[in-house]
């Protein structure tokens, strides 16, 4: 913060937000200074993204006030935010794929009437200018569809510049980027800061926050825990503030006896997505699958489970070659898959909890095709008890449950199928911290029962705490296999970084 302009760009006071009666943000006070890069840190669901969205007008605060340059403002929607000079850049930028880059840049900026003329030439010229300013080479007349995510982010940043934004919020911008793209992004961010703009940077990666940011604010469970200059905090401090207790408490590990190979994958390839994936998981073993978002981890899981089968390669289940072309095949072989996106691929939102829980065991609840309601209900109720799912009634629509309890119900669905191989894709994403610990216990227990578990996770502490072995993927390939003893955050991270980039950088 070289410039000592005393008035903060943004002063947030007592900002709170509730969704359907659940408070996700409580009384946040925060000043953002001009010419600083400010990191927001916290676990998933800690409230940092909600706070950012309130600044950008996506959400309205339930309580609290915002001031811009000392003047109270109401950011009622994203368009107002844009006019006030606040731009939110989403991780996967929102764009209009059928419109040209230049059009995407200016859309929504103009106040002109409906029938005013579209100044194509001027628009294109201006778009070129901003691209040059950012030092990126994108043909502004081509449609957005097909641009890489990094380029889409650049278009978003250009859009922020075009509307002369004073505050640019980047919500986990680096997750889908290669290291080189990250460097470009950071260079631009620093330049924008030096111009006196304010940047909010949301990330999970401490090293990035250290490299880029001036100050950091840490959120936990909807509260602002601390704001400080980055230099004043050690990594351990930050982690402690984020999770509210030392990392060690997470270390649950049931001692399971590791048995025969349950799942063996060889040479699994889906061109353009993943290549030559080979690994095995034994009964009683928890194998982690780490890597950056977009490395192809979920795609491998989907291929094994038959949702989107691989083109070549073999899958063996309990030593026998398995032909898995659709999920039914996988389920028949004793596989189960708890997918990453609960709302999209997990729950039947409006259907009762019991129907959600019994969805994967038609044979058990309806042996002759006719549903036995008593059987269904007792199976569901047992599962509710066993997994401590909090609900009013098993007849309740599952959409009325909290995220953690929905996730438990999905897990319950698969446990009823009694799988010998369980694939969990980001099982604790968006779940309260308390419930998270319950999940860790459960996963350990499941392994102790002799099930083979493949755990996909982006949270390295989670992998390190739970797994017997950790596989790491980058750019669709397996890049490391680490035993429990040798695994640590640095090794996982260095294997997760795309290889082609590392070679180039080494050279």
């Amino acid at each position: 913060m070289s410039e000592a302009d005393a008035t903060p760009l943004i002063s947030a006071r007592d900002i709170s937000k509730s969704f359907a009666g659940v408070e996700v943000l409580r009384g946040v006070d925060l000043d953002l200074m001009k010419g600083e890069i400010h990191a927001l840190l916290g676990e998933n669901g800690a409230g940092k993204s909600t706070f950012a969205k309130i600044l950008a007008g996506v959400h309205l605060p339930t309580r609290g006030t915002l001031a811009l340059n000392g003047q109270p403002v109401e950011v009622t929607n994203p368009v107002v935010a844009q006019k006030l000079g606040i731009t939110l850049i989403h991780q996967e930028p929102i764009s209009f794929p059928d419109l040209s880059v230049a059009e995407n840049l200016v859309l929504g900026r103009s106040e002109d009437g409906w029938f005013s003329k579209v100044p194509w030439a001027e628009m294109t010229r201006e778009a070129h200018r901003y691209m040059d300013l950012l030092g990126v080479h994108i043909d502004v007349t081509r449609p957005m569809r097909g641009l890489s995510i990094a380029d889409q982010q650049m278009v978003e940043i250009a859009r922020a510049l075009a509307s002369d934004s004073r505050l640019i919020i980047m919500d986990e911008p680096t997750a889908p980027l290669t290291p080189r793209e990250v460097e470009t992004l950071f260079g631009i961010a620093r330049r924008l800061r030096d111009e006196g703009r304010t940047i909010i940077f949301i990330s999970h990666r401490l090293e990035e926050v250290r490299a880029l940011c001036d100050r950091v604010t840490i959120f936990r469970d909807g509260d602002k825990i601390a704001t400080d200059t980055i230099g004043n905090l050690s990594d351990a401090d930050i982690i402690r503030l984020m999770i509210g207790r030392p990392l060690k408490e997470y270390m649950h590990k049931h001692s399971a006896t590791i048995g025969d190979v349950a799942l063996e994958v060889q040479g699994l390839t889906l061109p353009g997505v993943f290549y030559d994936i080979g690994f095995s998981v034994r009964h009683g073993e928890i194998v982690g699958l780490g890597g950056l978002v977009g490395a192809g981890r979920t795609d491998v899981a989907r291929a094994i489970f038959g949702v989107a089968p691989a083109e070549s390669g073999t899958v063996k289940v309990n030593g026998k070659a398995a032909e898995i072309e659709k999920p039914e095949d996988a389920i028949a072989l004793g596989l189960a898959f708890v997918p990453e996106d609960r709302a999209v691929a997990g729950i039947f939102r409006t259907l009762p909890v019991e129907q959600n829980i019994t969805a994967a065991i038609p044979g058990k609840i309806a042996p002759a095709g006719i549903i036995r309601r008593a059987v269904e209900k007792s199976l569901a109720q047992d599962a509710v008890k066993k997994l401590r799912i909090r609900l009013a009634s098993v007849k309740q629509p599952i959409g009325e449950l909290s995220g953690g309890n929905q996730q438990k119900a999905i897990l319950a669905r698969w446990l009823l199928a009694d799988p010998s191989i369980l694939i969990l894709d980001e099982p604790t994403r968006g779940i309260d911290i308390g419930v998270k610990a319950e999940f860790y216990d459960m996963i350990g227990e499941l392994a102790a029962q002799g099930r083979a578990i493949l755990l996909i996770s982006s949270e390295m502490p989670e992998l390190l705490a739970l797994c017997d072995r950790i596989l790491v993927m980058a750019e669709g390939r397996l890049t490391a296999e680490l035993s429990r003893a040798e695994a640590n955050q640095e090794k996982i991270m260095s294997a997760a970084v795309p290889r082609s980039q590392r070679v180039e950088e080494a050279a």
Partner: protein, 328 residues
């Protein structure tokens, strides 16, 4: 080289090639197809479809569909025809104002139902398709407006020609197409329609007034159906409560989708639709020459819609997202 390639892979080029191929094949078989007269026949078949197709294109680009255009055409033609019949001496030009106005109003009702109640356009316009057709019977007392009541100046528009023997209504249809081109390419709201169809979730985040734009799109579709209604009166010289505009929606949808307008919204060009309409006109003009009965037309429209869907699917590598009834 790149420019050439991009022209070659464009949908418009594909349809143009289809038109040429079709003409060549039919002309080899029946040389009389390749005459100026048959060009006139083709062109005379197209103006109504072309005008309504411009509206349907906008509706599809915005990720909706309008099944009620035939009924809107019928109702506005009927009211206009009755006005001519019951108020003799009224300036015939006023008919255009009335027909377009009524059409716009009916379209606005469609749009209001879709946006206000967040209903799927397919069901709403299936309802209004019947509702407006019923209203046509009610206002007309189920009676046809006969030839002698349609102003001769109006009928003359389909017969007299300013140039090359091509009647006025064809020029009007192309004028509408040009105006639509200008509208979608050079006005802000025109681009907003494409943006809305391209990403309906993001549209409001960029200040696009989704409700108003949707209302406008349906109103335009209605207004152009109304215009097609009075041109129907001009072209055929009568308005019948049951026939006028009946089944018109399928012709128009067929022409629009073969013209490359994506059913997934956001994609479509005026040139493509114009060519699609001309292609359909060629087919319709060739049928009697080839000895195929006119009753085959319905089946052809249906087949064309399905073929267009197949082309659309194979053109897009990523395939069509598993879209179901679009949630408004």
């Amino acid at each position: 080289m790149n420019a050439l390639r991009s022209i070659l892979v464009r949908r418009e080029t594909g349809i143009a090639v289809m038109i040429v191929l079709f003409t060549v094949v039919v002309s080899l078989y029946k040389p009389q197809f390749f005459t100026l007269n048959s060009l006139r026949v083709i062109l005379l078949l197209t103006p109504l479809v072309m005008i309504a197709a411009m509206g349907q294109m906008l509706v599809l680009v915005a990720r909706h569909v309008d099944l009620s255009i035939g009924s809107m055409l019928g109702l506005s033609a009927m009211v206009t025809g009755m006005m001519f019949r019951d108020m003799p001496g009224i300036p015939w030009g006023l008919g255009f104002v009335v027909a377009i106005g009524i059409g716009a109003l009916l379209g606005l009702v469609n749009g209001a139902l879709v946006t206000l109640f967040r209903l799927p356009a397919i069901i709403v316009t299936l309802g209004t398709l019947n509702l407006y057709r019923g209203l046509t019977f009610i206002v007309s007392n189920a009676r046809q407006v006969d030839r002698q009541f349609i102003p001769s100046e109006l009928k003359a528009m389909s017969q007299t020609s300013p140039i090359l023997g091509i009647p006025w209504i064809i020029f009007m249809a192309f004028a509408v197409a040009l105006a639509t081109y200008w509208f979608v390419m050079h006005t802000r709201v025109g681009r907003q329609i494409f943006a809305l169809g391209s990403n309906p979730v993001a549209a409001p985040l960029r200040g696009i007034k989704v409700t108003q734009v949707t209302l406008l799109v349906f109103a335009i579709s209605g207004a152009l159906s109304g215009l097609a209604g009075i041109m129907y009166a001009s072209r055929w010289g009568f308005v019948n409560p049951s026939n006028t505009g009946f089944g018109f929606e399928f012709q128009v949808i067929a022409a629009v989708v073969i013209g490359g307008v994506s059913i997934n919204g956001g994609v479509g060009s005026v040139l493509g639709v114009v060519l699609g309409v001309l292609l359909m006109g060629c087919v319709a003009a060739a049928l009697p020459l080839l000895g195929i009965p006119g009753t085959a037309q319905g089946a052809i429209y249906g087949a064309v819609i399905l073929v267009a869907l197949l082309i659309d699917r194979s053109v897009r590598q990523q395939g069509i997202a598993g879209l179901r009834i679009a949630r408004a």
